[in-house]
Amino acid sequence: MSKPAPRRLSAVVAVVVLALTVVLAYLASVVNAHSEERLLARQVAQIGTLLGNQAAVLQVELADMAQAAVNTDGNPSVFARWASGELTATGQSLSLWRITDGKAKRLALQGVRPIGPPGGSDRLTTLKPDGKLVVISILPGKPDRLAYALMPSGGNRDLVVYAETPLPPNHRLPATKNSPLAGLDVALYLGRTTAPAALLESTAPTPIRGTTHTETVPFGSNLITIVGASPTHLTGALSAALPWIVLGVGCVLAAAGAVTVQYVSRRRELAERLAAENERLYREQRGIAGTLQRALLPTLPKVPGLELAARYVAGVDELQVGGDWYDVIPRGRDCCVFVVGDISGRGLGAATTMAALRFAVRAYAAQGDDVDVVLAKLRGLLDIDTDHQFATVLLGELDAADGRLQLVSAGHFPPVLVTPDGVRTVDLPIGPPVGVPAQGPPVATAVTVAGPATLLAFSDGLVERRGEVIDTGLERLQEAAGKADSRPLEAMLDHLLEMLAVDGKKDDTALLGVRWTSRTARPARD
């Protein structure tokens, strides 16, 4: 993993979470705004309905008065009686007019003096006898007034009821609880306009601020435009705050996600680095073990008349030096002493014991001792009770000139012989390993093998497999050896190791091959 990756990954996480957050917040705000809008529209529509009702009430009142006047042919006292019953607020003005020859003449007045419609009382002559409420206009004054009138339908065509009603000071309605306008900022304008001059009344300074909803409803012969806005959130504080809450939580999550990703990535990076370091140390250690082992093993000598080859394979996953060894000590043409051994255990202890035994064998063999004597002397060098180790050793002396072979084994596998007649394991008595008390001195076994022949001496790593009787491994070796005998000796050993290799094998393997060719007659020696 490259170094900047954790930072990049956490940035990606943060950006993705943030993007999701923004989308969610946007959706929440859209939904909230939509709900607000719908609720506001509904409230404004309710106000419109109320205004419609109020217009109807006014029309009925004026129509009643007008009817009374018609019935009495404009009797002022009758009108006054009716009108006094209708005066609901101070500052109202109700009057009865007769239209004659295009001129309006006041017959009776109740309440304050009228300001009169713009253009004078002649404005009243334009009314039609339809009995409908005509909202004329706003009249400037102290306070401003709203002028409206009605000409009754029916037979009489010259009587008009005219009314002026005061608008609240500054056109501001006092805020009252339980009013349909409570909680809303509303302004009502006369006509299809929101011009300041057309303002009838409002519950808040005009123009109304915020998100407004405007609706125009009929009011008598005229129109009223309602502009409403909600100073508070109609959908509730939580709903309104939801987009911000989503945004806030999302930002925190994005930050937390980025930090977590970075932390985890760092940890992984660290773990990977540690693992790589361990792996390197481990390989190094294995390299050291292998190197040490090879340093302890000899380079095989050249012996005229003999072909020699050996292999050593360290066990897989082993950090410690093993205790397997092989050696060949030349004794002139066609002759040598060879040894293959295995110290129980591993590590420095096994390696030192192996070195000690190897040099002892060299020394004794060099001074001309027979293999049984060499073995007897080795027995004095190791004691399992003090060293906690024992060694299996196969010693052999070969004189290829006449095919004479002397063999002795201390707990070690007998060698395998490959000749044109076939493959066999040499029949050999096995004494206890070196380090274990033995009954009596070792006795060498003499075998005569005319060449061409190949002798294979090996340690248990070659044939031993967990969960398998050792004989199976020995048979496997014999079979493979028989098939590989036609190859050059070096190639034959490689082939055997390949054929008998076990994945993950723990034990070391030592393999020594000695090959000699046929001699029908013993050649002259020294």
Binding site: N278, Y282, D317, D342, S344, G345, R346, I384, D385, H388, Q389, F390, T392, S409, A410, G411, F413, P429, I430, G431, P432, P433, G435, V436, P437, Q439, D460, E464, R466, G467, E468, V469, I470, D471, K506, D507
Partner: protein
Amino acid sequence: MDEPNSAPRARLTLDDRADGAGLVVRLAGELDLATVGELAAPLKDLLSREPQPLVLELEELTFADSSGIAVLIRLANRFERLETRGAAPSVRRVIEVLGLADRVGLEQS
């Protein structure tokens, strides 16, 4: 490197024989270089006992390498008369191949 830290793979249990005529030692699991260390304490305890007849039960021993066989030899060296019983074929053959059948008193198959 990553030796599993699970239950011990090798076990040694020690009993006195019911008839008082020596000890019975049971070896179980896999006895090799990697596991011999697990037996260090009970083995030391066992080897400090007076020499006396010893029966070695190997029914539950599934594998023994040279390090494992070394344990057997040390027991054989310490105690008067060793009898090894119940060895699985693979363990038996390792003992035989090492030329140790007599040494550890391996019962005839």
